[in-house]
Amino acid sequence: MVKYPLELSNIDAGYGEAQALWGVSLKVREGGINVILGSNGAGKTTTLRVITGILKPWRGDVKFLGENIVNVPTHKRVDMGVGMVPEGRRLWPQLTVYETLELGAYTKHAKEKFEKNLELVYTLFPVLKERSKQLAGTLSGGESQMLAIARTLMSSPRILLMDEPSLGLAPKLVIEVFKVIEKLKKETDLTVLLVEQNVYMALQIADYGYVLEHGRIVLEGSREELKESERIKKAYLGL
């Protein structure tokens, strides 16, 4: 029996007068790596913004652990367990690595697990321990991405949202980031929702995925189903 900690139903959303999502419904499967695939501008980031509450949808429901959270502000969703690694890292350049991790555990329930999470983060990313006193703004691209993931992990999320973690990284680092995601899946009971443009890489680690085009879900299925899909082969893998 598969459980769905996060469900979107019939989401319409947009910016100003421009609609970006049309009736998007999706269910995130517990304990797995869920992906949303699509090209630039397909509405992937908008979907994540709706889930985190940065953007309020025009219509539709966002259910987290069975509760409708459409009217819950972003910072409270974090407390409920929605953790997001934003696109482009968005670190605080003038805060040290350690301070960043401390703030990651800002919410009450995260503070309680601070020591445990810190250990987990330092095991996953030993380099962060070495650089704990360094300012976040001085980290390299790969290290920044690690810190961004670590910061979110510190908030003790139930579900981890990741917005294009591979963006702007050299190919070698991309592979490293994806390995980290797999490792996370193995070592924790986290549910991951990954948004990716890099369809090829995403399909290596996904358990289940959705394809967004022009703000609509056009396809969904397990990894194998997606890999075999003619649509994906043609439009995204160039086969």
Binding site: H75, P86, L95, L103, G104, T107, M154
Partner: protein, 305 residues
């Protein structure tokens, strides 16, 4: 004779600089963190000064109690300023654009007009002060050829305490770190569970609170204040904040001392070479020339990277 003029002038300049530094920290918070160009800074300083003076003159309350009262009033004023004026402009925005920044400048100017005219109307333009009240046994101390008022020494001590407390608050507490995080990226802050609106509100309260608290320093240093006193402190605070780098509390403090030093030195030099009567205004003008030079050549402040 010449040398002692310089020494006296520099000592007084530095003492004033310490006070200026502390009195400018509220501005660096508000401008650096919230992008609120608080051109009502001087008038807000005077809220504290006048409160202390009034409590002392009419109720006979010790200025130390007045000090606490001015902090309390500042926090409340900050709360009111945030919800009444700033929230609509900067509360929910992800990025403060130039236009929004200019709106904050204008609205704070409206506040300064309202406040300064309130002083004229309700308190009057006569100088007000703590009269003969002074800290310690003697009203002044001689150090060699330099005579320093004990009140100036008290002001400098309180100034250092204010700056130290604010610095510790920003670097050691979760609130302080949250404030810095919101300043650098508010959306990322909300993604770890920080409520940016709450932080902005608290930042305003702290900034205004520290400012009214510093009003104490102004009364002690100036001996007596008039509504026009604000007109000197607002622009000087901007000079200092720019010098120290936006949002940098310690930078502001050091910036204040530098300005005090420059003022003292140039005042002595002008007095010796030109005319003692012209020395005060011309020395003040150097502070603003320094401002323009720093803005042009090191806009991130002297201590920015």
């Amino acid at each position: 004779m010449g040398l002692s003029t310089v020494v006296i002038s520099v000592v007084h300049g530095v003492l004033w600089g310490i006070i200026l530094g502390a009195a400018s920290t509220g501005l660096t918070l508000l401008w650096g963190v919230m992008k609120v160009v608080n051109v009502a800074h001087g008038e807000i300083l005077l809220i504290g000064s006048y409160l202390i003076v009034i409590l002392y003159a009419f109720l006979g309350l010790s200025p130390y109690i007045g000090l606490l009262a001015s902090l309390a009033l500042g926090l409340i004023t900050g709360l009111a300023i945030y919800w009444g004026m700033l929230h609509k402009l900067v509360g929910k925005v992800e990025k403060v654009t130039l236009k929004i920044e200019m709106s904050t400048l204008l609205i704070m100017f409206a506040l300064s007009v309202a406040l300064s005219n309130s002083y004229y109307h309700f308190i009057g333009s006569e100088p007000k002060g703590l009269g003969l009240w002074h800290f310690g046994l003697k009203s002044s101390i001689d150090i060699g050829s330099v005579v320093v008022r004990t009140n100036s020494i008290l002001a400098a001590i309180v100034a250092v305490i204010i700056v130290a407390a604010l610095h510790l608050l920003l670097t050691r507490t979760t609130l302080g770190k949250s404030i810095r995080a919101v300043m650098q990226d508010a959306q990322a802050a909300s993604l770890v569970g920080i409520n940016p609106v709450r932080i902005k509100m608290l930042t305003t309260m702290i900034a205004i609170g520290v400012t009214t608290l510093s009003g104490f320093l102004i009364v002690l240093h100036e001996t007596a204040i008039i509504p026009g006193t604000a007109l000197i402190y607002t622009p000087l605070a901007f000079v200092i904040v720019v010098l120290g780098g936006l949002g940098n509390v310690l930078g502001s403090f050091i910036g204040g001392i530098i300005i005090g030093l420059i003022y003292g030195l140039s005042k002595a030099i002008i007095a010796l070479t030109f005319n003692p009567l012209a020395s005060a205004p011309l020395a003040l003008s150097t502070a603003f020339i320094v401002l323009i030079l720093v803005l042009l050549f090191k806009p991130e402040g002297l201590f920015g990277r």
